[in-house]
Subunit: 386 residues, 2 copies
């Protein structure tokens, strides 16, 4: 006999493209597992960039699993949420922007201080930040896979983490890898974290480790693109801004009151080859090769010292740096091959030899799994019913 | 202005030798940090193997920090708890065994279903198991660094984890390394863990990696002993039982309903050289060298295949094995040097490349830090007061 459900977690999801869609699939497929653990996740609303699908009565019911499954299929096919209207029956309503936003606030207001609500942000925009801040004011819990609300003005970060037990953001750094959770544990135990060094871009991890074999930079980047490891324009990876956002989140987690402006970010291409000057096509065809020579020299210089080059973020007493760094071949970061992420955490307990966490740090499935683990980790804040 | 305290966590600690003593020190030194996080840990009782020191009124007050500091100093000097009686003033009482045990149950009964209570086991005995089970019945939370209550009869394990949100046991495996927390997250996200492979003995990790350099087994074990890496009788490490206990905890966490009897444990010494047949001194002087030849051969055979030997536990669909295993030189386990622990976790999300967690897996400071992180992780189950 399964354990009767004890905790109900109402959820509103912002962003149901890649990660969000996988999250909904995971929620539906995990129902029996979660019931065994005494938890039921009730999805009361799902929003994409233009609309919100919300349950008729958010207090008493959620969107049913058949609807969520339809929704996932529609999003996978590239259709917007609004395409479901009229096609699928059920006890839901659809609101378009800008009304959709106020309806999310409605749900947050209704549920935040009664049953509780988890507002989950799997979008990739800065636009959700004010919504998330409002939700915090209404007593809601917050789970983010979206880095942007945490990497805007410091005041926004401060606001979002002001009730630290009600926010989780594991999937903003290293997808599902337990980096934030581990750093949070270490800090809570009074073991001061002195330094974090990480390779937090699967793309750049792959590129830098391939260079060791004597391959040319331009070739490796093109191969990475053909393997689907890069953004459509590889400069979005090579510029380092995505790594910088993750570094900023870690730095702020360690208590550094800094912003993107305070981070030294080394771009692997010069501004003359930037998106404003050169098209993606031209960059791939004739821009990249211009970088081969200098990269080859840097790799050789490192190698002559027994080191390898890695694109890392480093957060420590001197602030936060993002860029290429020479590292010993036999360190956790130096040994890294392929597209895994690696994070080294140094503290009193992990002083001479760091705590190392390594594994796949990207992918919709893994990122969504991290978000779901975060949601489940909030369960004790929700009322239990016998 | 510091945040006013919101959650009070009453704690009774069993075992205040090595790890327990460090825990008390950490609790005292973390007061300002925890106050900032809205948490106050109230130590209402501390027990060693013969006595219990308990606050006069467990409902309203704890043992004060001056007393806890005295207590740590006494235990560090090898004195029993009872030596404090009369020497240190304060609002506490001291009970000796067997009365001490019933007084712990008293506190559990009084606090378990009212303010809540965390019963922390930092002892190293099976004797606490029934006490911990009683505490579960009284609604208490449980935190263990002690492996033994979790590695006795399966029914005991089942009872202790029956309310899974109220138990933490991170420090039973890999000290403070976030192994249990990470596996629990992965399971909660519906990502089924298929296999865990780990090097969970710093001693055996050190011994096996040193053998690669061509050193003799007997020499390496003696060096490990002189460095303080082994138990007083190194056979306590070489027999593999400590690793087997950790493996059993991981296997049970993955849902395997097994017991120690079901684990194949390879001992690195034969029964003819066991404690019943040979004294520690004789084992070190003349027993160990008898093992050099066969170990040398096994290391060479592995090396000829590009592999290294590691003493690992492996938990998977075929149950649970503990012993020497040939592993690729360039795997996370194969690359391991020194006394770090390493755990590789395989699941759907971490299928071809595992999630790897590596770092110091022993030491009182680190183990106590893991226990404190566990206690802090329970805070949402305790009443908050404005």
């Amino acid at each position: 006999m399964p354990t009767p459900v004890k905790s109900v977690l109402p959820v509103v999801l912002l962003g149901c493209g890649g990660v969000g869609r996988y999250l909904l699939r995971h929620i539906v497929s995990c129902r029996p597992l979660h019931a065994n653990q005494g938890v039921a996740i009730r999805v009361v609303g799902v929003a994409d960039s233009s609309s919100l699908l919300v349950a008729d009565d958010v207090h008493s019911s959620g969107l049913d699993d058949a609807l969520l499954t339809h929704l996932c299929a529609a999003k996978a096919a590239g259709s917007p949420l609004s395409s479901l209207l009229g096609q699928v029956s059920g006890n839901y309503q659809l609101f378009r922007n800008p009304e959709a936003r106020s309806k999310v606030i409605d749900a947050a207001t209704k549920l935040g201080r009664t049953t509780g609500l988890v507002l989950v942000d799997c979008s990739a925009t800065y636009d959700t930040a004010s919504l998330m801040k409002d939700a915090v004011d209404h007593g809601c819990c917050i789970v983010l896979a979206n880095k942007k609300p945490l990497t805007g003005p410091y005041e926004d970060f401060q606001k979002l983490v002001s009730n630290f037990r009600q926010i989780r953001f594991e999937s903003t750094v290293g997808a599902g890898l337990p980096v934030i959770a581990s750093v949070t544990r270490i800090i809570a135990s009074g073991d001061p974290v002195s330094r974090i060094v990480g390779s937090l871009s699967g793309t750049l991890g792959y590129v830098m480790s391939e260079l060791e074999d004597g391959k040319r930079f331009s070739e490796v980047v093109k191969t990475a693109k053909s393997l689907g490891f890069t953004e459509p324009d590889p400069r979005d990876d090579l510029g380092g801004m995505d790594v910088a956002r993750k570094a900023l989140i870690l730095a702020r987690l360690l208590g550094q009151q800094i912003s993107m402006d305070n981070i030294n970010v080394e771009s692997l291409y010069p501004s003359e080859l930037g998106p404003d000057a050169v098209s993606t096509e031209d960059f791939l065809e004739s821009g990249l090769v211009q970088l081969d020579r200098s990269m080859e020299e840097r790799v050789k210089t490192a190698s002559s010292r027994g080191n390898v080059l890695r694109y890392v973020c480093e957060i420590g007493s001197k602030g936060c740096q993002v860029g290429l760094k020479e590292l010993p071949k036999d360190s956790a970061l130096g040994r890294l091959r392929g597209s895994d992420n690696v994070v080294e955490i140094y503290s009193r307990c992990y002083e001479s030899s760091p705590l190392v966490i390594q594994g796949a740090g990207a992918g919709n499935d893994t990122t969504a799994a991290g978000v779901l683990a975060d949601i489940m980790d909030l369960q004790d804040l929700f009322q239990r019913t016998a």
